[in-house]
Amino acid sequence: MSAAATAAPSSSSSVQPFLRLAGVRKSYPGVVALAGFDLDVARGEVIGIVGENGAGKSTLMKILGGVIRPDRGTIEVDGEPFEALTVGQSIRAGIAFVHQELNLFDNLDVAANVFIGREPRKYGLLNLVDREGQRAAVAPLLKRLGAHFGPDAPVRKLSLAQQQIVEIAKALSYDARLIILDEPTSSLPLRETEKLLEVIRGLKADGISVIFISHRLHEIERACNRVVVLRDGVLAGRLDRAEVTYQKLVRLMIGRDLKVVYTPPAVARGAVALSARDVRTSAYPHQPVSLDLHRGEILGLAGLVGSGRSELARAIFGIDPIFGGSLGFEGAPLAVKGTGDATRRGIFLVPEDRKGAGILLDLPIAQNITLPNLDAYARGGIVSAAAEARRAEKSKAELDIRAPSVQALTGALSGGNQQKVALAKWLAMDPQVIILDEPTRGIDVGAKFEIYRLMRALADAGVAVLMISSDMEEVIGVSDRIAVMHEGRISGMLTRDRFSEENVLLLAMGRGLEGEGRT
Amino acid sequence: QDKKQLAFVVNASSDFWKLAEAGVKKAQGELGSYELQFRYPAQGTAAAQNALMDDLVTAGVDAIMISSADPKNSIDAFNRIAGQVPLFTTDSDAPESNRIAYLGSSNTDAGVQAGEEMVKAMAGKEGKCMGFVGFLGADNAKERIAGFKQAIEGKGIELVDVRGDDVDFTRARTNVDDVLVANPEINCMVGFYSYNPPKIYEALQAAGKLGQITVVAFDEDPVTLGAVKEGSFASTVVQQPFEWGYQGMKLMAKYLEGDKSGVPENKLIIVPTKVIEKGNVDAFEADLKAKIASAG
């Protein structure tokens, strides 16, 4: 690709696009993440980018955000060509970026996070932060996104979903001309997602371009003018709004048709494996929660941001203390003083915060997988590298983890593959009860259905599965029963015959179902 | 507090000062109407000592005797203290300050004595000596070294170098070990601080060179005395810290009572250093034990 060729205006569009990528390439040792990629983004256009985990979406975005340097290719922003952008250049060029992984400072408050790096200042040379101005600017943004916290809230007190909202608010606060959203909805529940889609429409109307990456294809369908499909670092197809269908997207992404059938209902619901009686957690000590989880079933746990689902899961797993009530396992009382007590009985949790708690980014894949059950791969306290590698290879094949080798650092994997590793470490053991907190957060459709299949297989094998999810489609498609939480209590329990988006939503907002009292 | 308080402030913690403490205890037995204190600073620095003296004066002490870690440069602090209570120096002096008097030995004299002992012990042989000390820059070290050099001048004996160890016993030992390796020509050694001779002894013992190298020591560490008794060391030069503590306290008490006759014209009360060698080491040791026992 010569410089002359890239500089020449493209024949297809007479208007100069806001952004033009040509021949962008990026390789890591052992992987070609992007193999020569071209992309035009016009003003006011919402472009969806989809692709399997590891297809190179985030890599592309990081190049635009100036976080990494491409090996070659050119980037043209508003007519100005660059070989590579720095973070500063990218920001100055009007590109705002919501990273796939959160990049917040939990020692600062919301407003400070939103304006980090470009604080409104006062007193000229003294360079003090204009804290009032900051707050005033952030409050409406939060409102627009439907957040229930103020600009002064310390970020460390926010849940993951709330933090995601802060990230989005941050991108919106830039006077940006292009906003990149790398899986912004991965942990956002329905209502907040709706708000976001609304915001995107507004941006479009203002002539601001948006690049929207998501594994939730329905969102892509609804929000985008144009969809670009990436596969293995190369362009697999472009679809205009009119051509976009779910099936087509899937075919382009994974190269074959995918039968979108959600899993069949439980074959047989077994005995109660895990029971919670009036359990009180620190987030909502005044709200006792009672719940029975049966063997062989997948119990969906739905609710809005901060409804206390994750807190409940953490309490059951022994991370957080329980302030009242009791847990039972197999009919006997269960005391969990630490995670060891839970894992010893086969009660596992895949946490929502993958990067911070789900896996160790700095360890090889194999070591992550064997970590919870290391004794099984050791003799006399000495770890057998061979046994470990065998197990890891098996998991890699079973879950189709895309990585150069099982000795690769987990942190170098794409988000979706990291999630598979987080799952793999429990599946390599003998689960009795498995709690999955947002199990498909950031996972591509192919893998998603793979995980649903795995969950169902587990349930059919008699495992009790509790799935916390904010993805409405998933909750309704996968669960055998749905428990809905509202502000720390179970506001309703739905059986399959009463599954509907509307019912889940009503309960999640704390209203009773039509024609019924509260459960 | 109706009893008058006298304080004896030392420069660092070491066994040496235990003897002075014994002397102070003996004095306490005779000075019933006084309260005597014996104070170690938190660190062996002049700054810590001066802060300690400030605090003592604040706490109502009536007279202080100090062994300063850095008398030359503490003159202002001394004068500040001396302006409030009578101040005496011991061990190392600050003649320019307003202290009432100095009571102690002369480090230069002690160094000279050690040098003379070395000359005597070498008995006309050529000597290449290595010295060992804690702080090379400290006054007492410099004076002792200077006195030693003065005495060996022109006697065919040379002090090749002095190795410092910052009062780290490990380094004190390593220094001797390393000198034995690196400087095979060395045939005499001097340990200037009280813990140096024992380290010399141990290193020589480990290297099997006891008796082959002539050693002159300072102070009365049990190992040093043992080595003298055994004949491994030629001799050791000892000060009389017990007397400093004892006489010092009596002197201060008398001074506070208005009797200034104890302070001579030149304001120097020199308690002479003694040479301990094979002949008098047993008597010295017995005396030492008795003194410590007397303090109880």
Partner: protein, 329 residues
């Protein structure tokens, strides 16, 4: 003032009251002035340390740097006859340069702060000892230098070091808690990577922290040299970095970076100095000095922390109980 600082203040007051009851001279103007002087002096380099700790770094060379700069200052003024304002300027400039060197080694050559400053600790100590050949640098007896007693003067009974600390403290507070640069310090300390993604020039911010630290340390070095009036390079300010770090940690700084307040580090300094003073005032054997200090810090931090935990738990438990009595809805 946040809750942590408040806890520390209470601890200081409790200890102070205890000492006062045992020996009322604790509050005598003279003793207060002496202690305040040391607080001023130690506070300066403890704040300095705070700037580095907030970035997740550490500055271990504080004590050695003070020895080197102190030796140079005293030697220049006392032996070479350099007018003291010039000597002070040289010393502060040298301090800034050393800080810059640390900052560059850490940011440009990506060395661990611990390694860089540990080497600093060794090298500066060695350099200052080599410079005087282990002798003590001091002023000739009876010499006076017009204006130089500024550093030891006590206008209205208050040592100048206290005034300087007050000024530096206020500036540092504004810089750390109100300025853009301060915010960057917090951001860099919490997550350097994310700070970089936010367009913050993290290397500049971190290097600046070391420069500020060294600059303040240089000022403290002059005060300390004037307080001791002589500098024995082998022991001068030995391991003062530990005091500074202890003051910062007591004051709520986290060695992982991103946490801490100026009020906290000053309170930490006060506590440490009161503890030192207490040992001398109460006639506790000096050998126990360290033991007392260690015990009070341990108990203080423990109580402070457990108290917070305890209240949090009680709050939750009470919420749980109250809802039991009147079942929710």
């Amino acid at each position: 003032m946040n809750k942590k600082d408040l806890g520390l203040l209470v601890l200081i007051l409790v200890v102070g009251l205890g000492v006062y009851l045992r020996n009322p001279l604790f509050l005598s103007p003279n003793n207060l002035a002496n202690t305040a002087n040391l607080i001023g002096l130690f506070g300066l380099f403890s704040i300095a340390q705070g700037f580095v700790i907030i970035t997740g770094g550490i500055e271990l060379s504080v004590g050695s740097m003070m020895a080197l700069l102190g030796v140079l200052f005293v030697d220049m003024v006392g032996r070479l006859g350099v007018p003291w304002p010039i000597a002070a300027a040289i010393v502060i400039a040298l301090g800034l340069l050393l800080g810059l060197a640390h900052g560059l080694l850490i940011t440009k050559l990506r060395m661990q702060p611990f390694v860089v400053t540990l080497c600093g600790l060794l090298i500066y100590r060695g350099a200052s000892r080599g410079y005087t050949a282990d002798a003590t640098a001091g002023f000739p007896f009876g010499s006076t230098y017009p204006g130089l007693d500024f550093f030891v003067a006590r206008p209205w009974g208050i040592p100048t070091s206290v005034f300087v600390l007050a000024v530096v403290g206020v500036i540092a507070w504004v810089v750390l808690h109100r300025s853009v640069f301060g915010r960057y310090l917090y951001a860099v300390g919490k997550n350097e990577e994310a700070a970089k993604f936010s367009g913050i020039r993290t290397s500049v911010v971190i290097a600046a922290a070391y420069v500020i630290c060294a600059g303040l340390t240089a000022i403290a070095a002059i005060f300390l040299a004037m307080y001791t009036r002589s500098v024995s390079p082998s022991s001068h300010a030995n391991f003062y970095e530990l005091y500074a770090i202890a003051a910062a940690v007591l004051g709520g700084f986290s060695l992982r970076g991103g946490e801490g307040s100026i009020v906290g580090v000053i309170l930490g300094t006060i506590l440490l100095q009161v503890l030192q003073n207490l040992v001398n005032l109460l006639g506790i054997p000096s050998s126990l000095n360290f033991a007392v200090m260690g015990t009070v810090i341990l108990v203080g931090v423990l109580v402070d922390q457990q108290w917070g935990h305890f209240r949090e738990r009680r709050r939750i438990r009470e919420a749980a109980r109250s809802s039991l009595e009147q079942p929710a809805e």
